[in-house]
Symmetry: C2
């Protein structure tokens, strides 16, 4: 029943915002899970830090962001002005380097500003201000005491003396007190008597641009010989690079390139009885030639691989490697470190299974083995080995089946020295685990895009995964197909279906990808009802004639060019869905916040027939008057239309063009 002994001195800054500090700092953005995880941003961005800041009573407050870029020893500061409409404080950091940024917020009472604004009103009302002038003098003197700048200190002291000087008429002293220069001087050297620091320091992971905006292309090097009889090599794959670059891709992703196990090797079409020359699944990693740091001999040498990477980089392409933490029974680790696996009571090593299914060609690792320090370090060394060979992007296989703690540790360790490395998480699991992996440090994530094909599926799913809180840490990469997923929509919809899915993937998200063969419309499943390809490239060579008539090269070149030319397609936080009166026609908008680039995207989702619809253009959001007439240009075809008002007519025949990407040409609006 006694008052708290810790009642703080007003000047104390020790308590932070959670104890008895007078100023509250709340709802800080960006902040992920109370600061448990970093937010993500891209280099070159301006990052707005905002917060609710308030205290009791009527005093004016001031606030600033305290921040430190990667490698900086000193704190920098940026002011956070107050927005009375939003009752919110905000300041912008200019993120000019990749790496880990750190910030917090400081707030204090603007004693001089509070006093000055009261004085102003009293002077205007003709009230006596003699006591107020003495109070002002005291504030200036306190400010001078805490001021390190000698000239400023002198000016403050002089002003304080003038305010106290009863020989100077009150009106003249009021003029001095309210002088704008004095105001600026005090604002520049504020007394932060009750400075309150936000209770946490928050982190921002700043990535390079391609971490957030890139088109991916997945390719098996072994299929690139052009000859169904001959195992492809890195040199063969290298010859595909100019084609891929010309199609407008940014990243070439290779499935595992390591020796492949022979024990329990899978045959064609995932059968259990392989033929002698069956090549096996690249994800059954490890053979007598080596494990995760070896190259499959039929692909060439490590030097060949390095040459491949060098050539890709020359063409402006990043190379992404698969990172799959599992082994075949023939992996060197099985002999050298059997204790890194789970040993069963009969002395055998536990293979992968999903009862009653058995995957005897795959051994999972036991990450909680007694010898885990060595195992985890070995897994880290795999990354570093390939990083040293020029790989700066990794596509991580099934991360949700390995400990979260491992990912958090290994990604942080790498980013400490190499903040340009990108990690793509293949987490086809429940949303909460998918998102948690993004929080733990994965740069990008696979998505449920392949399974979202109707209007409501796309809208609901994109809205959930584009919520502002989610976008703080999650970046979805929309693959239109993968070696594992050939959706029924593509199986049945033919070429129009492929074109529709391409446009959706490439415009719904700044990150998207296709797996080789998509551009040829490959769509035969291993059997009805399956999402597996017939003659899946996972189990056999699959040479292709990319020049075949009817390929989607023109579509790919066109959409990738449009993406590069339109900044609205290069960010994820600017997608909104709008009304289309026909449910088969999806209507969404990608807009720059400053309205410099507004795209209205309308896609017929039915690959089998033409549809028309009335779409409702959000004129308010576009800053157009209710009955505006405005020209729009279809970036797919170059056609120009004049649209009027909110409700406009579209007709889309998927055999001709399944979509409009209409750029609003603001200059011409009337």
């Amino acid at each position: 029943m006694s008052a708290p002994t810790r009642t703080p001195r007003r000047a104390s800054r020790a308590a932070g915002s959670r104890a008895l500090a007078p100023i509250v700092i709340e709802r800080v953005r960006p902040e992920v899970d109370g600061g448990r995880f970093p937010a993500k941003r891209v280099v070159g961005e301006s990052c707005v830090v905002s917060a609710d800041i308030f205290k009791d009573g009527h005093d004016q407050l001031a606030a600033r962001v305290r921040y430190r870029g990667p490698g900086e020893g000193e704190w920098s500061y940026v002011a956070m002005p107050y927005d009375p409409d939003a009752d919110r404080w905000a300041g912008a950091l200019s993120l000019d380097r990749i790496g880990e940024w750190r910030f917090t917020i400081e707030a204090w009472t603007d004693v001089f500003g509070t006093w000055r604004s009261g004085l102003e009103k009293k002077v205007a009302a003709g009230q006596d201000i003699s006591v107020e002038l003495l109070e002002g003098a005291a504030i200036l003197e306190r400010t001078a005491t805490g001021c390190k700048d000698r000239a400023a200190r002198a000016s403050l002291t002089t002003a304080a003396q003038a305010l106290r000087d009863e020989n100077v008429p009150a009106a003249e002293r009021a003029r001095i007190a309210l002088d704008a220069t004095l105001h600026a001087l005090v604002t520049g050297h504020p007394s932060r008597g009750d400075l309150t620091e936000y209770a946490r320091q928050l982190l921002i992971t700043v990535d390079r641009e391609r971490a957030a905006f890139a088109a991916w292309y997945e390719m098996f090097p072994r299929s690139q010989s052009g000859d169904p009889k001959r195992h492809g090599t890195f040199a063969d794959a290298e010859r595909q690079l100019p084609r891929i670059a010309q199609l407008g891709f940014d990243v070439v992703y290779l499935p595992p390139i390591h020796p492949i196990g022979k024990t329990f090797r899978k045959g064609k079409n995932n059968t259990l009885e392989p033929l002698r020359d069956d090549v096996g699944s690249p994800w059954a990693i490890g053979g007598e030639e080596g494990g995760h740091t070896a190259v499959h001999p039929q692909l060439g040498t490590l030097a060949d691989f390095e040459h491949f990477v060098k050539r890709a980089n020359e063409l402006g392409l990043d190379v992404a490697l698969d990172y799959a933490l599992q082994t075949s029974p023939d992996h060197p680790w099985v002999r050298e470190h059997p204790d890194w696996f789970r040993i069963r009571p009969d002395g055998t090593i536990q293979y992968a299974e999903n009862p009653p299914k058995k995957y005897q060609d795959i051994y999972p690792l036991n990450f909680w083995t007694e010898d885990r320090e060595a195992l985890w370090n070995a897994c880290l060394e795999i990354f570093r080995f390939w990083m040293a060979r020029g790989v700066r992007t990794f596509r991580v296989d099934n991360p949700h089946t390995k400990p979260f703690a491992f990912w958090e540790w290994v990604i942080a360790d790498i980013r400490k020295t190499d903040p340009d490395v990108v990690f793509l998480s293949e987490a086809f699991t429940r949303p909460k685990r998918l998102l948690y992996l993004a929080k733990l440090g994965f740069t990008q994530s696979y998505t449920y895009f392949t399974w979202k094909n109707t209007t409501w599926e796309i809208r609901d799913w994109m809205r959930e995964f584009s919520a502002p809180d989610v976008l703080e840490y999650y970046r979805g990469n929309l693959f239109a197909n993968t070696p594992d997923i050939l959706h029924e929509y593509l199986q049945r919809g033919g070429r129009p279906a492929f074109r529709i899915r391409l446009i959706l993937a490439a415009t719904l998200s700044p990150l998207y990808g296709i797996y080789s063969g998509f551009e040829l419309g490959e769509n035969v499943p291993v059997r009805a009802g399956s999402e597996e390809y017939l003659h899946s490239e996972k189990y056999e060579l699959r040479p292709r004639d990319f020049t075949k008539a009817g390929n989607l090269d023109a579509d790919l070149r066109r959409i990738n060019r449009i993406r590069r030319e339109n900044p609205a397609l290069q960010r994820a936080d600017n997608l909104t869905f709008h009304t289309s009166e026909n449910d088969q026609v999806l209507f969404y908008r990608k807009s720059m916040p400053d309205r410099s680039n507004d795209l209205l995207i309308i896609v017929n989702l039915d690959p089998t027939r033409a549809h028309d619809s009335m779409v409702h253009v959000p004129l308010d959001a576009l800053g157009l008057p209710a009955n505006a007439t405005y020209p729009v240009t279809d970036l797919l075809t170059g056609s120009q239309f004049t649209w009027r008002g909110a409700r406009n007519y579209v007709r889309l025949d998927p055999v001709i063009e399944p979509a409009h990407i209409l750029r609003v040409d603001r200059g011409g609006a009337a």
Copy 2:
């Protein structure tokens, strides 16, 4: 670049969920600001604790709530079953006592359940299970080791031996392994090898029922003599209590009852020149007769007050006292503790001001004075003084102009010994500060209700303040008028306006109130454009004839009875707005989650004329088929109607009945 030395043993429970623990526990509810503040509940409620709980891989998990009621030394546990549809875990606490409850969550891998479900599938597939049986035996043996129950330990050991016994046929061993009794036994004594505890312990403030469901009546005792010439007394006020109880109110709230200052006393209608017999504002607390713990002599004695409280309680009424931390210049503290105020450079005490306005009759306290420990304790003692006289409810004047730290400390201190005490915050300030005071411990809060009079104003505002996150800690008390606020809507709308506002206040929220005179339709402002009453009771006696024709007694009795008879009106978390085709007609629903009480409330907001509308009944939410026919009873009039389908017609004449409160009579639906 070395692996973390802190890689945890699987069995370690030290790390909590934030370090390297294998199990993630996230998005826990109820949790306010990451556990910084308690959530609020009412005694007798069942509180569902829920969370996202997951780890890597495919193991099955188990979880429970660990909790402790007020005064309990031991932890109790309640299981949290998994809901696969929501991917969420939840268990319910039965809150059977008021006070502070504490809980956290524990989760662990269900090793036996995981093994058992794999075994089941293998047996069904006819696979060899000899190694699996050995693994199961090992699990049972580990479970037995950790089991304190001797009989259970014996059963577990016996089962393990049977599983290992190669003389027993595999089919028989499988039967033993999959036996339901064994499953129940292991589930009842689980091995929690990797038990992970949620990183925080969370608090729940459990209040008595009236903290969340009550009708308030505000009354100035000094006006209750019945004679405009004679200052009313507690005895006079006591004679009003039966009337107030019969109208159905639960709480009688009295403005300050303390001696009133004479220096700079305000005259009638807030004038600066009082007449000799002007009574002054009760909020100018303190005179030569005493301060916050004294009684104004003209009201009677402390014994008279205690008698008033006793009589109120006999009638089932709580008495709420005003708690206003400010003084008149004549308050004893001004003489005894001038340092508890702010002394200006000329030696005078700072009076309240909002430049250029001056409130020279009011001295604010300086809560950050050097002597603050004594001041804060004195403020605490005011509460305890009146609590000892039977007051368990306080209406706190302008809490947002006193330090947040003070409120958090003083409320926590009182609730430690007296968890039944209710604090109503009069925080007419920006929403963020209003809500912050609720987080700090205030039981209820004043609201912006008086200023929300149109359909969209009411919907937007109620939605913001009924968001699930907000309702965790905030309870709005909807006063229809106060001595400070006579809204233009009441000034212009006459008797129909008062009836409309009464029904809205009493049905939009389980907590509402009126200030004396409302039932007589008093609505004359001091001048056009002002929200102040003419002849405001704040500055003069205001005796009333409550029996006057046209009073709202019947309306009050009726609505308070309806509130008591319908549980859906007794909680705040069940309000939804629905479509009405006429904007002057507001349509909302209050429903019990189990559908035991569904009310459709339709209010004509235009006091000047009748309106009709089509309202859209949410049949889905009511569990009614699309073309259902269902009887509804208007609880205001007793009339019965048969409604059909979603769209139904209403017509409301505010002179007759401005609203329907339709109870859906489910038994009769077809």
